[in-house]
Amino acid sequence: MSKTTQAPKALRGVGNYIDDRFHLAKTGEKNLRKVFPNHWSFMLGEIALYSFIILLITGVFLTLWFKPSMLEVVYDGSYESMQGVPMSEAFASTLYIDFDVRGGFLMRQIHHWAALIFVAALVIHMLRVFFTGAFRKPREINWLIGVAIFVLAMVEGLFGYSLPDDLPSGMGVRILQGVMLAIPLVGTYISMFLFGGEFPGEDIITRLYVLHVLLIPALLLGLIVAHFMILWHQKHTQYPGVGKTDKTVVGTPMFPAFAVKAGGFFFFTFAVIAGLSAFVQINPVHLFGPFAPTSITSGLQPDWYMGFMEGSLRIFPNWFDFQIAGYPIMTAVLVPGLVIPGLIFGGLALWPFIEQWITGDKRARNVADRPRNAPVRTGVGVAGIVFYGVLWMAGSNDVLSETFSIDLYLTTYIFRVLAIAGPILGFVIAKRICLGLQRRDRETLEQGYESGTIRQLPSGEFIEMHKESSAETVEVLSSKRDPSSTALAEEDVDPSGVENPEARKGMGKLRRALAHWYTKDNVTVRDVEPHSGHHLHHSHDHTSQEGPEEGKDGH
């Protein structure tokens, strides 16, 4: 090995200058040595982070020309098809960005694509965290921050979508206002205050603009920084494997490797978003035309992350609407507009605490679960995905009806049934699959893996050879913990014959019932000695030790 390169003079100079003032050498080294576990699924959050950075950069570019004004002007700009059309200055300046600013079209498309990918990446990242139980102690607070980022990202996206003041965007604002008006007692006041009077008024774009470019991004930035600092402080979770425990993290150090990998990944993310923006048109506002409260086109679709709201507004019937002394309670608007998002986001926020309450698990968990090893949690997650997915699909029921020539009203009925039956089915099927996989894991642990080699025994019987799994596989499979709950461990009657008062109370009963539900189905591996199975026939070739499933690592 060659001798260590001496630090370049200039770099040393800068380093010393800073260290003389901040005393950072020790802290700096500690942080550059920070270890990040390897797995492809740990890159999902990175995509969200990088998309957010792209959003900040392109967003600043757009503000240089965008005019957040609803003053009505008659367009006389470069884009011929719109000349002479009355429109807001907001829409006119958007056309200016598209047709008079070089690269403006691209930046606007990058901004929009990055927004879609930002929310998508953070949702998938969140699902990864959910299904692997990475939200467990000590990371519950970071999970809550994540949920807040998700909610803010949606609102931020909706407001950004509204700014160009084109036809679909204005209709989005109209729907938002319609939902607001449905709020009992104060709805009309909220709407009047937000819009500065009746819809559409002359203030809403200006107000949404300042929320979109200042307030919400500042909140998002703060939360994202907090999210990242907590991650940095607590260190990332890891999947089970040799040497990977709740006490020790194994992975790539920040310097030199992780920084370069992450940097490269930033450029990949940017490349994908730029590529989409170059070749896949998004939100062509110049074709939609300016917003008019009296016009609409059919087949209107919001950005994907608002689809579940749109879908629930479409399929929730007015059967439960009622009036109190002449004042309407519009469940058909309130449930989709407030209750369903409340259920989804509230459920997400509460789940770590619910699960902890059920299991009584108070230990710090740094090794993530394999989803199959927490079948009830996985089932609940799948049920949530199905529910969200059905609502999301229902948001395009008119397009589906048109594409597949199904009666429009029939699609509504189908989605109503699916929204209830789908999650239940999803739960049952996902849980069954998990248990099936657990069974296979147990078999693999006991018998090694199926080598694909068939052998005939002297008796004439054919058997398939099983080979020993790699040490990594054995470690992963045998690391499974059985789901347990302290609620079930606490005995109903203590040795002196006194009944446990907790177990008799309603909450205690509920907790025990939930604990039973959470833990009852399980395929344990605790009694399994690896490769002890009687069907295991060692291959003559003992050099082959690689497991079939677990590669070294996946980056």
Partner: protein, 384 residues
């Protein structure tokens, strides 16, 4: 972070330590740099344990070096091409391929976006090749921190904090403490008060529209006043209309607020198709029926859906159904626009119509109910 604490890059270059002129602690700094190198054993000069560092073969490194460099060259060229393509299409120069035309704008977009993509991809690919082929693969072990502080640390902190609180007088002088808290309350409410002027109170604003007795109607988007014959020539037809107002302050002649609440659908219904609902009063206690408010088979309903406010713009001629394309609330035009499907809470409000002396269609009053999304006070407030 600072870059001076650990320099272990295996790059060719300065073999001899050089003095940094002008930095006061240069000599101290050199010691820091040389120490970690001295500690390493067995010829492994890397920053991490040899057992945690899986070096790539020299052959693989050499290949990676070339490959990464090739990608970086691609990225450089693409970056130059990006800058060049900025100047290929000027914004609005006559006779040239200006981006003011959507087609050219799209070419410009593809060229700029394509080169940008390639430049970004090249850098990403180069860095990835570098990390995967030139750099070692690391499997570094590091402890997770013990999370709760130990009892002694906690106890010490708690004691320190309470001693400080006591000594400051905060715990022992309730008068001061309580008055401080009390002084915060009005300031906490102040921002809410300051936001009062965000908008007017609703009062009965939403109960009134520009429609009034004798108001003619324009076909939406034009300044052409409608006559009854316009619909009679088109049986089963539907026309979207606005009150005839020519206010010079607005390019449309009428503000968007007024458009949003007063736009109507005029529909001609064959006489036999009316349903029973048309014979009911237009509002509770009223003498007028829905049918009284039509003129010669023409009925006028608000075009704005009572669900969340999209224009209910689709009209099925055969079934006389009005459909909102947003959430598919469906209203029966022959039956006082009652809801027949979907999430809307109430039917579409109806506008009383007639004709004036010159045969132009007019409204004879305002809607029977507030138009637009249904809101809490829609039946109360100013009334109609």
């Amino acid at each position: 972070m600072t870059e001076n604490n650990n320099n272990d890059k295996n790059e060719a270059g300065h073999e001899k330590p050089e003095r940094v002129v002008g930095t006061p602690s240069a000599s101290a700094e050199e010691r820091v740099v040389s120490e970690p190198t001295a500690e390493n054993e067995s010829g492994h000069a890397g920053p991490f344990e040899p057992s945690e560092t899986h070096l790539r073969s020299e052959e693989q490194q050499r290949r990676g070096d070339k490959m990464a460099s090739a990608w970086f060259i691609v990225a450089t060229l693409a970056g130059i091409a990006f800058i060049a393509s900025y100047f290929v299409f000027p914004p609005n120069a006559s006779g040239e391929p200006a981006i003011a035309s959507p087609q050219i704008a799209q070419y410009s977009n593809m060229l700029l976006g394509g080169t940008l993509t390639l430049a970004m991809f090249g850098i990403g690919a180069g860095m990835t090749v570098w990390a995967r082929n030139v750099m070692p693969h690391y499997e570094v072990h590091s402890p997770y921190d013990e999370l709760p502080s130990d009892d002694q640390e906690k106890g010490s902190f708690s004691e320190f904090f309470m001693k400080g609180a006591d000594e400051s007088g905060f715990t022992k002088r309730p008068l001061m403490r309580r008055t401080l808290i009390a002084s915060m309350i009005p300031l906490g409410i102040a921002p809410v008060v300051l936001l009062r002027d965000l908008g007017p109170l609703p009062r009965d604003m939403m109960h009134h529209t520009p429609w009034e007795n004798g108001r003619r109607m324009y076909v939406e988007g034009t300044h052409r006043a409608l006559r009854a014959e316009d619909l009679e020539n088109d049986p089963n037809g539907m026309i979207s209309a606005l009150p005839a107002i020519d206010d010079e302050r607005y390019p449309h002649g009428i503000s968007l607020n007024d458009q949003a609440k007063s736009v109507i659908l005029l529909i001609k219904i064959p006489e036999d198709d009316w349903k029973d609902g048309m014979n009911q009063p237009v509002s509770e206690g009223s003498d007028e029926t829905h049918l009284n408010w039509t003129y010669n088979g023409i009925v006028a309903y608000s075009k704005i859906c009572t669900h969340v406010g999209c224009p209910a713009a689709l009209y099925e001629r055969t079934t006389h159904r009005i459909l909102c394309p947003c959430h598919q609330s469906t209203f029966d035009a022959t039956d006082a626009a009652k809801v027949v499907f979907g999430p809307a809470h109430r039917g579409l409000p109806q506008l009383p119509i007639g004709v004036d002396d010159e045969g132009y269609l007019i409204s004879t009053g305002d809607f029977n109910e507030p138009t637009g999304p249904t809101f809490w006070e829609y039946q109360g407030g100013g009334g109609s």
